[in-house]
């Protein structure tokens, strides 16, 4: 309930500021270019697979840009104090913020449904992989947002939160695959299990695997839990 109150305010605040609209327009411009270049050429299969593949890499920039302000701004303007002294649990704050940010991500993605409409009008594509692709984007985006939320809780500077999140996301993905190539037998599988790219392949091809869904949700919960813990330990500072 309070989670929803926070989520609603958070989502609304993106639209109340120019930043939200500019971000949405910018992402739309990028994905429009990607779509026009990758999917919209005569003779190519009518699918959005390339589009999603590119979007996943775009998320490394997009998600931190959305998440950077979540807690850093509250710390800078001091609004964190009334928020944390209201009768709301830290977990509710984190969940609300995350939900709000994910909602904004969904709003950014919503106009891309027009691409689907165009494809449907042109060629009648298989909608299954497209649905799965959107599910994958949202799951991955929410995970990235939770990472960004954690960094946003650790600093009052939005810029720092943005950069730290982006580098963390880049390093963790590249690192997981590099590590998998060099680690011995049982560890390499563990490192590969942490790589999101391998899991995303399934979504792109239209397969929703429960283990991937659980992975993304659990990892999101982990970063969310850490964020809540950071908020809690602030009281002990």
């Amino acid at each position: 309930m309070r989670t929803l109150v926070i989520a609603r305010r958070e989502l609304g605040s993106y639209f109340r500021t120019a930043l939200g609209w500019v971000l949405a327009a910018l992402f739309l411009l990028l994905s429009g270019l990607v779509f026009a270049a990758s999917s919209l050429s005569p003779g190519e299969p009518a699918s959005m697979r390339e589009f999603f593949t590119v979007w996943w890499s775009l998320l490394v920039i997009v998600a931190p840009a959305i998440s950077m302000r979540l807690l850093a701004e509250e710390q800078r303007t001091g609004t964190l104090e009334p928020l944390l002294t209201s009768p709301v649990a830290e977990v509710e704050v984190v969940a609300g913020k995350l939900l709000g940010a994910a909602g904004f991500l969904a709003c950014c993605l919503a106009p891309t449904l027009s691409y689907v409409a165009v494809l449907a009008w042109l060629a009648g594509p298989d909608l299954g992989p497209i649905v799965a692709g959107y599910v994958g984007v949202m799951l991955l985006g929410t995970l990235y947002l939770s990472v960004g939320l954690l960094f946003s809780a650790l600093t009052a500077s939005q810029t720092l939160a943005f950069l730290a999140t982006m580098f963390f996301l880049l390093l963790s993905e590249v690192g997981a695959q590099r590590a998998a190539a060099h680690l011995p037998a049982p560890l390499d599988a563990a490192a590969l299990a942490l790589s999101v790219n391998l899991r995303l392949g399934d979504f792109a091809r239209g397969v929703v695997d429960s283990q991937h869904v659980v992975f993304f949700l659990a990892a999101t919960a982990w970063f969310g839990g850490l964020t809540a813990l950071v908020l809690r330990t602030r009281r002990w500072a």
């Binding site: 109150v5 609304g12 001091g78 209201s86």
Partner: protein, 342 residues
């Protein structure tokens, strides 16, 4: 009721608050007075649960702020220093958001928000963005957000800073209003405010707690504090020589007469009276042709000496044109408290 037992807070090696023992009762406006950096804000943040005490216990309405943080926070309305709020939101939207946070059901949110808006004279700016409001209005928005859900405890950090004199008066009235028993709070609210301005506290508070360097230096009603042991009375006295009266050796004469009448032996001209009991010192602060202005200091704990002094001077050839008891000066008390610590 807020109870603090042996509360300390350390930031690294700095002890911001140490060993604070305090009980704050409902129905009264309690003021935390102290210079900047005295630990007022830290104390308030610990009470509201924003910070946890390093040692000691705080209970608000019987709920420990650490172990039952949620329940404790539920009965607190808090206006943080500088009244931070989401600048991009509209006033009513922000208040509705805060009402939601405090668990006010959606159906009642509008009523609650309306009440707070009118209570804090915000109705005419309800559709404005918080970030575009003047400081005074922002402060009121913060206060409205704090009182929205009718909390039993109100914690207001520097509620009047940035307000103009008129707004300050209104704010004081509102704060006193909030402390009174009312709907849902039969015993009145616990209102705790902080300030570094004496006049503010003196004017608003029923009870004052003086804090310095993280410790409670004094606590009580302003009268108690002013009248308490160690405080001296001060009077300003102006006399003129009677029209036809003459006093030899004028220069010294008038002073001598006044001193003699007030202090008794030593300054005598025309009598050996014992002077006025309780007068400790008489200092000349101004002298004219036929007039004299002195400051009289009474013994600590002495009663009002104005009448006695007037009587003593009467018939001595001088006319008392002004006799003022200088009010007390909580400032004195405050400065005393601070200097003692030093």
């Amino acid at each position: 009721m807020i109870e603090l037992h042996d509360v300390s807070k350390r930031y690294g090696r700095v002890e911001a608050v140490s060993g604070v023992e305090l009980t704050i009762n409902p129905g009264l406006v309690t003021g935390l007075l102290g210079p900047n950096g005295a630990g007022k804000t830290t104390l308030m943040r610990m009470i509201t649960g924003y910070l946890s005490p390093t040692a000691g216990r705080i209970s608000v309405c019987g709920h420990d702020t650490v172990t039952a943080s949620g329940a404790a926070r539920r009965c607190i309305g808090y206006l943080p220093d500088a009244a931070p709020a989401y600048g991009e939101m509209r006033v009513d939207g922000y208040l509705r958001f805060r009402a939601g946070l405090c668990g006010v059901a959606r159906g009642q949110q509008n009523a609650v928000v309306e009440k707070a808006l009118s209570q804090c004279w915000l109705s005419e700016v309800r559709k404005r963005r918080v970030g575009e409001l003047s400081r005074g209005y922002r402060q009121r928005v913060g206060l409205a957000a704090a009182v929205l859900h009718g909390p039993a405890v109100l914690v207001l950090d520097e509620p009047t800073t940035g307000l103009d004199p008129g707004q300050i008066r209104e704010m004081r009235g509102l704060i006193r209003e909030l402390a009174r028993p009312g709907e849902g709070v039969p015993a009145g609210r616990v209102v705790l405010l902080s300030s570094h301005i004496m006049a503010e506290v003196e004017a608003t508070c029923d009870r004052v707690v003086i804090v310095h360097r993280g410790r409670v230096k004094a606590a009580g009603t302003p009268a108690e504090l002013v009248g308490g042991a160690g405080s001296v009375g001060r009077y300003v006295l102006e006399v003129v020589l009677e029209r036809n009266g003459t006093i030899s050796e004028q220069e010294d004469g008038l002073v001598g007469v006044v001193r003699g009448r007030l202090l008794g032996a030593g300054g005598a001209v025309g009598g050996a009276a014992g002077g006025v009991a309780g007068v400790r010192r008489v200092t000349v602060i101004g002298a004219g042709d036929r007039r004299l202005k002195v400051e009289v200091e009474s013994e600590a704990g002495a009663d009002d000496l104005r009448e006695a002094m007037a009587r003593a001077l009467h018939g001595a050839g001088v006319v008392v044109t002004e006799l003022v008891r200088e009010r007390a000066s909580l400032e004195q008390v405050f400065l005393n408290a601070i200097s003692e610590a030093a």
